[in-house]
């Protein structure tokens, strides 16, 4: 394959070209899907659609379901009191049984947030196309997969045909060089990017994260970054696979083994973007200048360093943007010029597909070990999966959180989107490691400060928004 006629390509184009089942001028391509992840909230209407047309699931062997969004994170041996949630959970159990789909439901040792279990099972692999009826499917891009969220009509299409109709996306390079300072995490990096480019810059594009700062991150940190690509408007965001990727995958339950592993490595090593490939747009960030970030507004682009002061709408020229900021500050109950550091809070949520993996919990525990959460504060720690929960318990993290006065819960999406009963009360403030600070996202009237696990844990101890660097950890980073 040394033909000089082959133009340099980005990883997105390589994956795209390898999955086009049908191409017709002026039409969207029919793109083959390698892995379809399904959950209880966005799938029931799709299965009904199949039944209405008398269709089967074309590739149950490439489909995997779990229960994460509406499932309670309390004792799993108790009945689910929310009848609607119970019905929805029962429905996916019925649908998976009827259509022959593997379900990691309640009681399965692999139950968990859909974007946590795919990678930990080794199902998420470089070069794959991965879809799910959930916008944070971009998470899987950390492995060099083209992964994006779809609507329920598309869920039905993939169930029926294992294909989707898609227009080729534009390429958006996010180059992050330099080294993150101590105490600055992947979550801070992605919040900093969003504060710079806003929440719609990525529309029509796929982000490709590159540069030495990205290369220096572990897989779980890369997942945190790719996870929030959608908050910048990009359906997908990915990172070319490297030895860190391969090391994470080796030995996972669904990862190739033996000769197949060697063959896979050959395929995967050909995936990264060619040296001379071009992008439709590039932004650069210097990681060494970044600080811990926190959001002050009602979209993830409204963030600033934790030491920052709330911006003044009067200084914004564009009337529409000015009105948006005014509205956000009114909702958040914040005044221009006010510092966020020290702002009182009611709840801390550590969890979600953004920050609920073992390394996130370890990071939070570093600041909570041997300490007590502030009086009157509610602190929820929700592992991303049953597997993460077991691993955390094996190293005693659950005891660290419990001893500090935090709640150690069962796996699920929980208070990230507050549809399972874990939610803020109207007017409450939370520091949350999740991905969205939209109005009411964590409960009607609730107000969210998005931040990293370290910032969340430090804030839990302090009882207000805190800078983890000032509080200091009680144990060294692992």
């Amino acid at each position: 394959m040394t033909s000089p006629a082959v133009a340099p390509r980005t990883i997105v184009d390589k994956i795209w070209d390898a999955h086009q089942v049908h191409v017709e001028p002026g039409m969207p391509s029919a793109l083959a899907v390698d892995l379809h992840l399904v959950h209880e909230v966005t799938s029931p209407q799709a299965f009904d659609g199949l039944r209405a047309r008398g269709l089967r699931v074309r590739r149950p062997d490439l489909t995997l379901a779990t229960i994460d969004h509406s499932v309670p994170t309390t004792d799993r041996s108790l009945p689910i009191l929310d009848l609607q949630a119970a019905t929805q959970i029962h429905r996916i159990e019925e649908n998976c049984a009827e259509f022959g789909i593997t379900l990691h439901g309640i009681g399965s040792p692999h139950q968990g947030i859909v974007h946590v279990i795919g990678p930990e099972l080794g199902l998420t692999q470089p070069g794959m196309t991965i879809v799910c009826g959930d916008s944070h499917t971009s998470t899987h891009g950390a492995f060099g997969a083209l992964a994006f969220g779809i609507g329920t009509s598309e869920v039905e299409q993939v169930l029926a045909t294992q294909c989707l109709l898609q227009h080729r996306p534009k390429r958006f390079e996010v180059r992050v060089d330099g080294e993150l300072a101590p105490g600055v995490s992947a979550k801070d990096l992605i919040l900093a990017l969003l504060s710079q480019i806003g929440v719609s810059a990525g529309a029509g594009h796929v982000f490709e994260y590159a540069g030495s700062a990205i290369r220096g991150l572990g897989m779980e940190q890369r997942m945190t970054i790719c996870n929030m690509s959608i908050e910048g408007g990009a359906r997908a965001g990915l990172i070319g696979p490297d030895d860190i990727t391969f090391e994470y995958l080796a030995g996972r339950p669904h990862a190739p083994a033996g000769p197949a592993w060697e063959a896979a490595l050959d395929r995967w090593r050909a995936l990264p973007t060619d040296a001379d490939a071009t992008y439709d747009r590039t932004v650069t960030l210097d990681a060494s200048t970044l600080e811990p970030m926190v959001t002050y507004g009602t979209n993830p682009g409204m963030g600033f360093p934790v030491s920052g002061r709330v911006p003044d709408p009067a200084t914004i020229g564009d009337p529409s943007r000015r009105a948006g900021l005014s509205r956000a500050l009114e909702y958040m109950g914040l005044l221009p010029g006010e510092p966020i550091l020290g702002h009182p809070i009611d709840v801390v949520f550590i969890g979600s597909c953004t920050n609920s993996r073992l390394s996130d919990l370890r990071e939070a525990a570093r600041f909570m070990r041997g300490r007590r959460v502030a009086d009157g504060l509610r602190v929820l720690v929700v592992p991303g999966s049953d597997e993460v929960k077991r691993q955390a318990e094996a190293e005693g993290l659950d005891e660290v959180f419990r001893a500090a006065g935090a709640e150690w819960r069962e796996a699920g999406c929980s208070m990230c989107l507050a549809m399972n009963g874990d939610q803020l009360n109207p007017g409450q403030y939370a520091v949350s490691t999740s991905n969205r600070n939209f109005e009411g996202r964590q409960g009607p009237g609730g107000r969210t400060f998005l931040a990293s696990p370290a910032t969340a844990a430090a804030s839990a101890i302090a009882g207000h928004v805190a800078d983890a660097r000032l509080l200091g950890a009680t144990e060294a980073a692992k």
Partner: protein, 209 residues
């Protein structure tokens, strides 16, 4: 779900919601997503903007104005439909009675969901959007005309603003057909592709084997 009514030219006054970055959590909050049906979602549309914490209608929110009843066009700001992939957002807008959303930009997933449900995303450039806003500032009850065939939004002063749409989506909307029918027609090609591209994984294998 095969087929829906063909999308026809229509005129309607607009509901004006000039906010940027209206996310799908606002269009329909997550607690309404516990349904297993596509129906009955109009009650959740903009629920937290329509009702206060006690469940009483907020008189200053536009959809609570009785004069808005029957209006089929929503005029919003930039980046409409950002955030979650929930198709419930499109279902709720359609259930309310909307057939088109006019905005200075749409989030990708929402745009796709809208098109699959007969809800037309009318994307105008900044200038065109401003023109609509000016017309509606003058007369908030002015009728706009949505002509999908010509890909034009007609204003009462006779101005015609063109909007982009990919030809495939346009054809499907005009005929009332859906994408799945087209995908199913590719069965032979899909089968051939599957033979030449064996999958590296199987979810049916024991996960802890």
């Amino acid at each position: 779900m095969t087929g829906r009514a063909p999308f026809e030219r229509f005129s309607s006054a607009a509901v004006i919601l000039l906010r940027d970055d209206v996310d799908t959590d606002q269009i329909i909050p997550a607690r309404f997503l516990k349904t297993v049906s596509r129906d009955g979602l109009a009650e959740g549309l903009f629920a937290d903007w329509r009702f206060d914490d006690a469940g009483a209608p907020r008189p200053d929110f536009v959809l609570n104005d009785p004069a808005m009843a029957g209006r089929r066009i929503l005029v919003a700001g930039a980046n409409f439909g950002s955030g979650s992939s929930r198709e419930h957002a499109a279902w709720a807008l359609v259930a309310w009675g909307f057939r088109a959303v006019v905005a200075a930009g749409f989030a990708d997933i929402f745009r796709g969901n809208a098109l699959k449900n007969g809800l037309l995303p009318v994307e105008l450039g900044v200038e065109g959007h401003q023109q609509v806003v000016s017309v509606l500032a003058e007369d908030p009850s002015a009728a706009l005309t949505v002509d999908l065939e010509a890909q034009r939004l007609g204003l009462p002063d006779g101005a015609q603003l063109t909007f982009p749409l990919d030809p495939f989506s346009r054809t499907l909307l005009l005929s009332g057909a859906d994408e799945l029918g087209y995908l199913l027609s590719l069965d032979g090609e899909i089968a051939a592709w599957e033979v030449s591209h064996p999958s590296p994984i199987s979810t049916l294998a024991r996960a802890d084997a």
